[in-house]
């Protein structure tokens, strides 16, 4: 077992020697900065997109808010009762068409 252990340690140090530290290629630094810039522009684009979304959401909220408020102001004008609305929909002249005879209220006609 000790022999295997020693052989394995030798293998590891041989591996270290077979792969020494290496110099970077000429394109290493330009490529690194290109990647940094790419991510930076992506972050900026995302930030701008987020701003647009926030502004759009605020505008939509405002529109919906106004729509919710406006009908309330009209509700004050609706002060007629259900019977008034029915009477408006069916004027006395047309009642005969649906089988209802309108009696005159004049006492002299009785």
């Amino acid at each position: 077992m000790d022999q295997w252990n020693k052989e394995l340690s030798d293998l590891f140090s041989g591996y270290r020697n077979s792969m020494p530290d290496r110099d970077p290629s000429a394109t290493f630094m330009p490529e690194l900065w290109r990647k940094i810039e790419l991510r930076r522009s992506l972050v900026v684009r995302l930030r701008n997109l987020t701003r647009v979304f926030v502004a759009a959401a605020a505008a939509i909220c405002l529109v919906f808010g106004m729509l919710a408020v406006l009908p309330v102001s009209h509700r004050g004008e609706m002060n007629e009762t259900y019977l008034d609305v029915l009477a408006d929909a069916h004027p006395p002249d047309n009642l005969a068409d649906i089988g209802i005879i309108h009696e005159a209220t004049d006492p002299g006609n009785r």
């Binding site: 591996y15 270290r16 530290d21 290496r22 970077p24 290629s25 290493f28 690194l32 991510r39």
Partner: protein, 197 residues
């Protein structure tokens, strides 16, 4: 430290020229370490650029310049681990050929058929990489940092942010697994070698 603390502080403050100098100072060492961690020379620069990219965008999280090197090693370990994990997924279909390949390499290494130092180094490299492929990516990296890079337990403790005893146990188990694989490979190589008259 390969650079002055002030240089790191300047880079932290957003000085690109200072960051450039930090990269220039460390790139050779990081390239070497990544090469030994992942074992694929053609992808070393990509992984190293990923390390420095992560460094650039996380440098503001570094509390003190004193812990810069363990921090950089941690980024190196994480980027190498991500690479190896992706690589393993890609290579899963080819894993069935590995045992035969191992036998051939061990046979060549043990059979004394080496022709020159370069050839021997190539065989050692291939054998170690095939042995390391027997353990998980995490154990491979940990073992390489200890056995190949020669980092001390104290240094590993800073990189992994775990206590020394836990590291010792993990290292022992990983080494045992590699040792078992080595023994099995040697035995298989011994069996496959034709006996001399």
């Amino acid at each position: 430290m390969l650079v002055e603390f002030e240089q790191i502080q300047k880079a932290q403050a957003g000085d690109d020229a200072a960051f450039n100098q930090v990269v220039v100072a460390y790139r050779k060492r990081i390239l070497g370490t990544i090469g030994r961690l992942i074992g694929r020379p053609e992808d070393v620069e990509d992984v190293a650029q990923e390390v420095f990219l992560r460094l650039y965008y996380s440098l503001d999280q570094l509390r003190t310049p004193e812990v810069f090197e363990p921090w950089l090693y941690r980024l190196t370990v994480n980027a190498s681990y991500d690479y190896l994990r992706k690589q393993r997924r890609r290579n899963e279909s080819r894993m069935s050929d590995l045992s035969e390949q191992q036998v051939m390499m061990a046979d060549a290494a043990a059979g004394g058929r080496v022709s020159g130092e370069e050839q021997r180094q190539k065989q050692v490299k291939e054998l170690v990489e095939s042995l390391l492929s027997e353990v998980s990516e995490q154990d491979r990296i940990l073992l390489t940092l200890k056995e190949v890079e020669g980092l001390s337990l104290k240094e590993l403790e800073k990189i992994y942010a775990v206590n020394e005893n836990a590291l010792k146990v993990r290292l022992f188990r990983a080494r045992q697994r590699v040792l078992n694989a080595y023994e099995a490979t040697k035995r298989a190589a011994g069996r496959s070698r034709p006996e001399k008259d």
